[in-house]
Each structure stands twice: as structure tokens, then as C-alpha cells.
């Protein structure tokens, strides 16, 4: 029996809904087999993975806390991705945003001022945007590949952070350990409740999601950028400038990544250390695609990815699974999700057998 993959004339609307369900179904089936082969009860394991982390308020707080930067960055990235501007280096922009925000927080003269936090927000966004402006400039003027430049600048950013925390910014009272002093209280984001870590940075995310949605779905600029992404010849035909897409796509995603970096350093971290991001900048790329480059889809994608991180920890803590099994499970789910999206634009047809 032979099968053929054909592009669909129009994206399937029913598949758009069915694809994630198919993905989850396949993940459940395959992972159940995996769990059974390890002698685990699949029901208990899946419950622990998907439900258990959300059964406490603390769990929900942690869920949102982890989803928030992913969603924030992915919204910025999606704006660029729609215009075929491939910023792969949000991780680096996040680091620079965190450095800029922490620099203001630690060394500016407004240590006690209520202005400190807003200044840090601005510093974080500007820092991330400036870091992204480098590949934008190089692409606009010299037609360099932004995928390479953004990715490589991530390593530069990481080394810069390492230099700062090992060198000039090292906490003088910190026994030479590679971290800065703690940020002053005025430079920390407010938590909602002392018992939980979720802080006001969640509002940044809410605002950015709404703005990103308006930008992508309603604004003319967003429309122009999308045309540039889907049909570059049509954008040229209409006279939309490609360089504008490059700059806007990179600056916006750089700013959101920088804001995420600021939120981390002024939120759960409270200081800079040599490693500050659990790969949010890279995971956000996955989130953007799980969300199909739609702001609200990204919210769902970010919540899902955050949940499977927590679920991965939960199965270790509650069931004693090794971390590698949790990683395999996470990989399975992401693979099926992204692969099933393929069915929205393509269909698999059984070929009628025919002798040649």
C-alpha cells in the first residue's frame, strides 16, 4: 500500500483543531507503552505529569511564572517569524536585557526610588533591542544571515555575562563566587503573595500578548510584515519595505526578550549569576511554533511547555523517574505537536494500487 503527501488547496480548519488532539493522543499512546515497559502505571504517570503540578496554588503560581517569559519572548519572535525574520538569538537578548536591568538596579543612583523599577524595565527592553539591532543592521546593510548572527551573538552575550559576574560586577562580599550582589528591594518586582513566587511581571506578559495580537492581526504594519513573510514578491509589488520588516521584527523580539530577562533578574533571581536563563530564549521558538505564530496560540503553547517542565519535575519527585525519561516524554509531545501541524496544510492520501 502506498501513500502520498499532497498539499491541501486550503489549510484545513478541522485539522487546525484536530492536530493538537491527535498529537496529544499519540503522545499518550506512545508514552503509555513507554511507561508500561518501565513498570509504571500510565494513568498515574500521566496524571502526575499533567494534572498534579496544578493541584496547588503554589503549583499554579510556578506554572504561570515559568510560562510568562516563554510567552513574552514567543510573542516578540512570532512578529518577526511571520515576516521571515528568523531571530534565533532571543536567549542572548534576554541575557543582555537582564544585564542592562541589573546594571541599572545595582549601580544607578536611584537605589531607593520608585523610579528604579521602571528604569530597569526600560533598560532591559532597550538592552535586548540593541543587541538585536546588531543583526538587523548587518542584515539590512550587508545581507548577512540573521539566523547565524543572532545565534552567535547569544554566545557573546553569555560570555559577557560570565565576564561581568566573575569580574567587575562580582559581589564584593560574596567570597569570590560568580554572582552579583542582590538587587535592592526597590528594584524587585512585587510578588502577589509572600507565599508564592508569581510576581507582577505577569502583567507585562498580558500587555505584550494583547499588543502583539493587535499588531499581528489588526495593524497595517503587522499586515505588511506578514505579506513580506508569506509572499515576498507581493510585498515588493505593493512597495512594502523589506528593511522595515527586518528592523521591526528584530527590535521587537529583542525588546520582549530583554523584558523577559529583566523580569527574571528582578523576579525569581534577584541577582545575576553566570547562568540566568533556563533556555527560555530557545524554548520560546518552540512556543511560537506550537502557537502557530498567533498571540493567543502562543499563550496556550507557553502554558503547555511550562506545564511539561513542571510535570517533568513532578514525575521525578513523586514517582522517582530519572530525568531522562521526563525529557523523552517532553520530546515526544513536542515532536507530535509540531509534526501534526503538518496535517493542517498537507494531507496524506492512500494511492490506489496500479500496476505500471
Amino acid at each position: 500500500m502506498a501513500f502520498k503527501i499532497e498539499p491541501r488547496a486550503e489549510p484545513s480548519r478541522s485539522m487546525a483543531i484536530a492536530a493538537p488532539l491527535i498529537a496529544i493522543g499519540l503522545t499518550v499512546i506512545i508514552s503509555s507503552l513507554l511507561f508500561l515497559s518501565l513498570g509504571l502505571n500510565p494513568f498515574v504517570t500521566l496524571y502526575t505529569f499533567f494534572v498534579q503540578p496544578l493541584t496547588t496554588l503554589n503549583g499554579v503560581s510556578e506554572w504561570l511564572l515559568k510560562a510568562s517569559p516563554l510567552i513574552l519572548i514567543a510573542c516578540g519572535l512570532a512578529i518577526g517569524f511571520r515576516a521571515n525574520v528568523w531571530n534565533i538569538g532571543a536567549e542572548g537578548q534576554l541575557i543582555i536585557g537582564a544585564i542592562a536591568a541589573a546594571g541599572v538596579g545595582l549601580f544607578s543612583p536611584w537605589q531607593e526610588s520608585v523610579l528604579l523599577l521602571p528604569m530597569m524595565v526600560i533598560a532591559g527592553m532597550v538592552g535586548g533591542a540593541l543587541w538585536a539591532a546588531i543583526p538587523a543592521f548587518l542584515k539590512d546593510r550587508m545581507n548577512t544571515n540573521e539566523i547565524l548572527v543572532t545565534l552567535m551573538l547569544t554566545y557573546v552575550a553569555a560570555l559577557l555575562l560570565s565576564y561581568l559576574v566573575h569580574g567587575p560586577w562580582r559581589d564584593p562580599d560574596g567570597f569570590n563566587f560568580p554572582q552579583t550582589a542582590l538587587l535592592p528591594q526597590a528594584g524587585m518586582l512585587e510578588v502577589f503573595d509572600y507565599s508564592y513566587r508569581l510576581n507582577t511581571s505577569i502583567f507585562f506578559t498580558v500587555v505584550v500578548v494583547i499588543l502583539a495580537w493587535v499588531f499581528m492581526e489588526r495593524s497595517f504594519l503587522g499586515y505588511k510584515m506578514s505579506v513580506g513573510g508569506i509572499a515576498p514578491a507581493a510585498a515588493k509589488y505593493a512597495g512594502f519595505k523589506a528593511s522595515a520588516s527586518i528592523w521591526i521584527g528584530l527590535l521587537i523580539s529583542g525588546a520582549t526578550a530583554g523584558l523577559a530577562g529583566m523580569s527574571e533578574v528582578a523576579g525569581p533571581l534577584g541577582q545575576l549569576s553566570s547562568q540566568i536563563s533556563p533556555g527560555y530564549g530557545f524554548a520560546a521558538i518552540i512556543v511560537a511554533f506550537i502557537g502557530r505564530l498567533n498571540a493567543f496560540g502562543i499563550v496556550l503553547g507557553g502554558l503547555l511547555l511550562s506545564l511539561i517542565y513542571l510535570g517533568g519535575e513532578a514525575v521525578q519527585l513523586k514517582l522517582g523517574l530519572p530525568s531522562s525519561i521526563a525529557l523523552i516524554f517532553q520530546g515526544l509531545l513536542l515532536f507530535f505537536l509540531l509534526a501534526s501541524n503538518f496535517l493542517i496544510n498537507f494531507r496524506i492520501r492512500k494511492l490506489t494500487t496500479r500496476a505500471l
Binding site: A9, E10, P11, V214, R218, S219, F220, L221, Y223, V227, I230, A231, A233, A234, K236, Y237, A238, G239, F240, K241, T352, R354, A355, L356
Partner: protein, 512 residues
């Protein structure tokens, strides 16, 4: 006489479309049989079924009286059925003989094959050099390679799919002679076309398709174009009404010594092009494809910026340095040859595609695109230009080529352009829609606008243009008055014979 090929009750269904519905036809040995029909009438599907490239859902195929079962391209070759596709399948970077060797069975000596190629090409008047690289061949030469490739297999039935769309009038004549010679030798020919005059000139019989069904059979030698067209379209074609042009005093669009290096290494650079287009007239630019038309369209529309601003002027204003959007703001409209992906975004619906260029009609407020206005605009274009579409929410790619072209044309005309540049206005557009589009262009020019048409279809240019320029190898000829020139003169200019006036050709006036 037993028919060479006989089809009985062929049916083919695609999801949502009946491509072929109960089609029967028969071709005798030595007969040139036309399959006439508009785009989407089911011609290509039928040819694929005959060649075995796709299976029929129902019906039978007989070859020399014997039923063909288990059909496929390999079976076709055994039966002596060969096909020349509209889009050639040649490898650019190897020679002609190497390309042909790839499709021949068994082990081959290239030297012997080259001799054979030369023999066949001489015999049928298809001069080709077996040792040349395909990338150095013109489109016409490539077609010859394809035909020679088929002829080397001594076909009993040769299928040609729209073979003249890439040829100059002279090359068409040569091709027809070859085909006639082949037919005289007993080879049957299935000739697919939508060009009525060619069919009347060449073919012995014709099967006309409409909407997937046979709508008539005719002897094209004894039928008028109007009769054939009626069978194709289902109704009488509207008469073109061409009122005399009232030209403006000053040119609205002027190209002044325009030079442009092509961005594409396979492209053609423009060399010192000068052109005037006045209000109230239609100016045509004829030429075989690949002679600089796409470069010209890009630089005039603003998709590419000219090297010097004053190489292009619009109402006296130098616009060479402006992008397409700025030029459109000044009244320069453009309808490109590619509708999907250039003139329209395929996955966007019509109202979103209205926004593409018509956003300047008050569709953007405070940076937000006004969807309702775009929808209203699209709705208006759909109604005014008789676009067959499922409303403004229909995706651009769901429209037929002709209807999308009407939509794009309508969108650009609704922007009230002073100059409208149209590239290949009726390419792949069915006869009815083509007539409508041509009339629209005439009306636009007669209401004072200036229309510039780049087209490879001479028939079309002679039908509606007031003046014709010819582009060959990136150079533009002097202007020819349509009423005082001939297809032959234009054809000679197309091949680069620079001044047809000096060569004494007894031109046959082109008559409609």
C-alpha cells in the same frame, strides 16, 4: 480505418471537481486532432489520462483497436504515445544529447545518438546542435529538443500541450510545417490549444471541451473562429468596441534611455530603452519571453529602483528612485503576470488582498487596518468586474486564474491610475474573461488613462493596442503603429532583425 486512439466515456473526479465527464473521442492515423477548450475545461487532465500519467476513474482507452489496460507512462511508450509538455523537463547544465540520452532505454553511445539526432532534426526541419548546453538554448530551441526526443522513438501518436505559447510567429510556422510532415507520414497528433486561429490553420478535426464535457466536434478548417469560440465559451463572445484614441499632448509615462543590469544571471539586462505612453491610448510591448520583459516590468512598476531617477518619468516627474508604493501614490498602477504570490497573497482572502494596494483608499486609521472598508472595497470590485468568487472571504488561491486576474485588475483600476502597466493580461485566462479584461483596458484608456501592456500574445496586442513596441534582447524597437504594421514585421523584430522596414517582406495584414 481503425482509429489510432479511441477514448470511450472517460471520467475523472477530483475532490469537488469533475475534471472529465464522459469524454469520448477518436483520432485516425495521420490525423491532426485538436482538443480545444478554455483553461479549466479539462484538457490537461485528459492528456494525462491518455498518456497514463494519471488513472481514469471510468472509461476505456483503445489504441489501434486494442483496449489498453494497466495504463501508465511506460505502457504509453510501448504503444508509441509521446508527449511534449508545456513546461519542459530538461537539465540545464548538460548538453542536448546527454539530456536525450537520459530518456532513452538501454545503453547508448552518445556519438551515435548525436548522429541520429542530427538526422531527425534535418529531416523534420528542426535544427538543433546536439552538443550545446541546454542552458544556452532559447525557449524555442528547447521545445525542438523535446520534440526531437519524442521523434527519436518513432511515435505513432504525439501529444503537444499548448506548444506555441513560447514561440515567435515565424517559429510557429516552422513548427506547423514539421507537424504536417509528421502527419503525412502517418503519425497522429493530438494538439491542445486555446488559440482558435492556429487550430483552424493546422488541424483536421477538433474536439471542444467545456466544463469537463465534450461540448462539440468540428472540422476547424470549415468553421469560423466565432463558431469554435461559442462551443468553448457557451455563448457568443462580446464584440470588442474600440473607439479611436484621443491622445494627450504630453506622454504620461516616459522611459528615457533606461538601462538596467538584470539581478538574475539568466536574466536579460535592459539596454537604452526609450518609450512614450500617452493618455488615451494603449501601448503594447511584444516579444518572446525572456527578452527583458520581467526586468522592464519590475523597473517601471518600482519593484526595482532605477539607477537614475530621471530614467522614468510620470507626467514629467522623475520617479525612477521611488518604490512601487510611492509610484502607486502618484498614479502608476501595475498588474503583474504572476497573480498568485505577486499580485495577490495566495492564502489571504480577497478583502485582505484588497488591502495590499488599496490601503491608500482610507483603509488604515491610526495604524489599524479597517477590515470593514477593505471588505466593502473587495465586494465592490467583485461586483463591478464580475469576479466569480465566494465573496470577499474567498481565498485568492481558490479563484480561477481569470477571476483572480479580474480581481487584481479591478483593484488597480479602482485606484484610478493615470498609467496602468499590465504584464501578460490574459495569460491562462479563459476566453470569456480575456475578452472582458481587454475591454476593460480599452475603456480605461478611452477614459483618458494610459495603458501599457507587456504581452507575448501577438493576437492580443494586435486586437487592442494603438501602438506596439517590440523588445528583443533587452532592447526596445521603435514604435509601430498597429494599423500600419504586420505580424511579420513584429515577428522579425522579435527575433532581433533590427529594422523590419528595410527587409522587404510581403506582410499579410493581421485581420480579426
Amino acid at each position: 480505418m481503425t482509429p489510432r486512439l479511441e477514448l470511450r466515456g472517460i471520467c475523472k473526479l477530483y475532490p469537488g471537481v469533475i475534471a472529465n465527464d464522459d469524454i469520448s473521442l477518436s483520432v485516425l492515423p495521420g490525423e491532426i486532432h485538436a482538443v480545444l477548450g478554455e483553461n479549466g475545461a479539462g484538457k490537461s487532465t485528459l492528456m494525462k489520462i491518455i498518456y497514463g500519467a494519471c488513472p481514469a476513474d471510468k472509461g476505456e482507452i483503445f489504441c489501434d483497436g486494442e483496449a489498453v489496460s494497466e495504463h501508465g507512462p511506460a505502457v504509453s511508450r510501448q504503444l508509441g504515445i509521446e508527449m511534449v509538455y508545456q513546461h519542459f523537463a530538461l537539465f540545464e547544465s548538460i548538453t542536448v544529447v546527454e539530456n536525450i540520452a537520459l530518456s532513452m532505454p538501454g545503453r547508448l553511445e552518445l556519438k551515435k545518438l548525436a548522429e541520429k539526432i542530427l538526422k531527425v532534426s534535418r529531416r523534420y526541419g528542426l535544427p538543433i546542435d546536439p552538443d550545446r548546453l541546454v542552458m544556452s538554448l532559447s525557449v524555442g530551441e528547447r521545445q525542438r529538443v523535446e520534440i526531437v526526443r519524442c521523434l527519436l522513438r518513432n511515435p505513432k501518436l504525439l501529444i503537444l500541450d499548448e506548444p506555441t505559447s513560447v514561440l515567435t510567429p515565424q517559429a510557429v510556422k516552422t513548427l506547423f510545417e514539421t507537424l504536417r510532415q509528421l502527419a503525412d507520414e502517418g503519425c497522429s497528433i493530438l494538439y491542445i490549444s486555446h488559440k482558435l486561429d492556429e487550430v483552424r490553420d493546422l488541424c483536421h478535426s477538433a474536439t471542444i471541451l467545456r466544463g469537463g464535457r465534450v461540448s462539440g466536434e468540428a472540422d476547424p478548417r470549415k468553421s469560423t473562429s466565432a463558431e469554435l469560440a461559442r462551443m468553448m465559451v457557451g455563448s457568443d463572445l462580446p464584440e470588442m468596441s474600440v473607439t479611436p484614441a484621443k491622445r494627450t499632448e504630453e506622454p504620461m509615462l516616459a522611459l528615457i534611455d533606461l538601462n538596467l543590469v538584470s539581478e538574475n544571471i539568466m536574466g536579460t539586462s535592459l539596454k537604452s530603452i526609450s518609450l512614450d505612453a500617452f493618455g488615451g491610448e494603449i501601448v503594447g510591448i511584444a516579444g518572446v519571453s525572456g527578452n527583458g520583459q520581467s526586468e522592464l516590468a519590475a523597473v517601471v512598476s518600482g519593484e526595482r529602483i532605477a539607477d537614475r531617477a530621471d530614467e522614468i518619468t510620470l507626467n514629467g516627474r522623475a520617479i525612477g528612485a521611488l518604490d512601487a508604493g510611492a509610484r502607486r501614490d502618484l498614479g502608476l498602477g501595475f498588474v503583474p503576470e504572476e497573480r498568485l504570490g505577486r499580485g495577490a497573497v495566495p492564502s489571504y482572502d480577497l478583502s485582505e488582498n484588497a488591502l495590499l494596494t488599496a490601503h491608500r483608499k482610507g483603509m488604515v486609521k491610526h495604524g489599524i487596518a479597517k477590515r470593514a472598508k477593505a471588505k466593502e472595497f473587495a465586494q465592490n470590485v467583485i461586483a463591478k468586474f464580475k469576479v466569480k468568487a465566494n465573496g470577499p472571504e474567498a481565498q485568492a488561491l481558490s479563484l480561477s486564474g481569470g477571476n483572480l486576474q479580474k480581481f487584481i485588475m479591478g483593484r488597480e483600476i479602482e485606484l484610478n491610475p493615470k498609467v496602468l502597466l499590465v504584464s501578460q493580461p490574459t495569460w491562462g485566462v479563459d476566453v470569456g474573461a480575456a475578452a472582458y479584461i481587454r475591454q476593460t483596458l480599452i475603456d480605461l484608456s478611452r477614459s483618458g488613462g494610459s495603458v501599457v501592456i507587456i504581452s507575448e500574445e501577438l493576437e492580443e496586442l494586435f486586437e487592442i493596442c494603438d501602438r506596439i513596441y517590440v523588445i528583443a534582447d533587452g532592447k526596445l524597437s521603435h514604435s509601430l503603429d498597429r494599423k500600419q504594421t504586420s505580424v511579420e514585421e513584429v515577428g522579425l523584430l522579435m527575433t532581433g532583425g533590427n529594422d523590419a522596414k528595410e527587409t522587404n517582406i510581403q506582410g499579410i495584414k493581421y485581420g480579426v
